[in-house]
Structure formats: C-alpha cells, structure tokens
C-alpha cells in the first residue's frame, strides 16, 4: 500500500529552535540520573555524549510531520557525535523529515518516520546529528 504524504516535505526544515544554554548544573543532574561518576562528565563541564538527545524540537515541529495509524513510538536513534557539548555552549536544533518508509513483519505493518535533527553551537559548528525513528502501526 502506497503511503499517502506530500513528498515535498522530505528534507524541508520547518523551524530552528531558539538557542538553549547548557548549564553545568543541568549536566550534573543528567549525570546523576544515569549513575554517571566519570569526573569528566559528572562535574558538569563537559556533557556526556547522550546529553545530545535531550535537545527537543519546538512544539510546532510535529504539526508538519505526517501521522500514520495509531500512536507512534520511539523505535530508535542513530546519533553522530561531531564534537563535545560543554557547559556554556548555546545550542540550536533544526530538524527535517529525512525519510518515510513501511515495513511488514510478524506483527503487521509498521510505518517509520525518520526525523533528522542537527545540533549547532554558538560558533556555528555542528555538534551532533540525530536520526529519530518514530514507528506507527497501521
């Protein structure tokens, strides 16, 4: 079954978030929730790599993302860590729909929407690329 969506939305960036400053206290709190004790991260000056996935799209972004079937779930992520995130960095995030595809498995047909987010710091340097795979059952 062909998926019904506007192919022109693939690759289109709908919005870029306002810059969010990375606070050492927030990095420390994040580390505590994961049991992180490595002083490189636990002191809050450098964020552990997984901190990159805590940056969120604006609330309007998902208005532009097509929905298929029942409520979607987070199916996984592919994260490329380009450079470390440090306390004091100001991070913006811009996202676009990278890909939409369908898979049929033992449990039925699933639709995957892949949203690619790019994190950029205050110097215009790319910090991370994150492909979020959202899965819905049709």
């Amino acid at each position: 079954m062909a998926l019904n969506y506007d192919p022109n939305l693939i690759g289109k960036v709908f919005e870029t978030t306002d810059a969010v400053e990375v606070k050492a206290e927030r990095v420390q709190s994040f580390c505590e929730t994961l049991g992180e004790t490595n002083p490189l991260y636990a002191e809050g000056k450098v964020a552990p790599p997984a901190y990159a996935v805590t940056f969120r799209n604006g609330r309007h972004f998902f208005q532009h993302v097509p929905r298929f079937g029942r409520a979607g779930f987070d199916a996984g992520k592919d994260v490329e860590f380009v450079r470390p995130i440090r306390a004091g960095d100001k991070i913006t995030l811009s996202s676009h729909v990278k890909e939409i595809y369908e898979k049929t498995g033992r449990t039925g047909t699933m639709v995957f929407v892949v949203v690619r987010s790019t994190l950029i710091n205050q110097d215009g340097q790319e910090v991370a690329h994150i492909d979020h795979r959202f899965m819905s059952r049709t």
């Binding site: 994961l34 592919d78 994260v79």
Partner: protein, 138 residues
C-alpha cells in the same frame, strides 16, 4: 589511557548489572524534559496499554552510551563518534538490567572500533540493541 592497540575483536564490555528504580526513571524523564505518564506513572502508562512505567528510549541510549564511555575511561585517548539504538521491547524500571558490548570490527586506517551493545532483562531477553563506533587518538 586506552589506545587502539588495546582493541581486539571479540573483547567484551561488561556485563554491567544495573538496577533501575522507578524513581530513577522519573528523575531521568523529568530531567530530560520527558514528563509523559508512560515514563512517570504506572496508572498513566497502563492507560496507554503498557504494562506499567517504561524507561524513555533516550534513557536506554544514555545507559548504553555510559557503558561505552566507561570502557573508554576517564583518561581520554578515544571518543565515541556514533551510537545507534533500536528499541525492541519496552524497558521496565524496578528491574535489574544487564548491559553488555562486544567488539565486532577494528579499522586500523581510521583507528576505529565497532561495538555491538545491548540491554537485557533478567530473562536474558534483548530489549535494546545498538552499535557504537569509538575513534582513538593518533
């Protein structure tokens, strides 16, 4: 400091046995801006058809990221440059999770190691699987 010479295909990371409480799951969810009922409240999660609270996918990613960065160590010498995760089965808190990794490839020219990583429950069921790439300094 870990170096590329320390990398051998077949070497393992872990196993690390980690009990994740509901309170820890709630703290992560709130810290990461994911205060949805499915991550914070058993009754709310059941209303969504889940067996109870589950860990955010990002938290599972964080635990696997920590497995790899702990293996790298605090002295540096290497950096995780990529981590991909697939959420196969919801991960429930108040259980002891086992985190493991296995080095599958080493590429001399790029000084990289590819590591399969995963999270198991007490029944040795793989809940989350993934692949990490670590790049060593020259």
């Amino acid at each position: 400091m870990k170096t590329f010479a320390d990398v051998h295909i077949g070497d393992t990371l872990g196993p690390v046995h980690q009990f994740v409480s509901k309170d820890q799951c709630r703290k992560y969810a709130n810290s990461a801006g994911l205060p949805a009922a499915r991550f914070t409240d058993d009754d709310g999660a059941r209303k969504e058809g889940l067996p109870g609270m589950i860990l955010p996918g990002n938290m599972s990613l964080g635990l696997l990221s920590k497995l790899v960065t702990d293996w790298i160590g605090a002295d540096g010498g290497a950096r995780m440059i990529r981590l991909s995760t697939t959420y196969r089965v919801p991960v429930q808190p108040d259980h002891t999770l086992t985190l493991q990794g296995f080095i599958t490839h080493a590429t001399e020219a790029e000084r990289t190691a590819e590591i399969d990583v995963w999270i198991e429950n007490e029944e040795a069921e793989r809940l989350v699987t993934g692949t990490a790439t670590v790049q060593f300094d020259r």
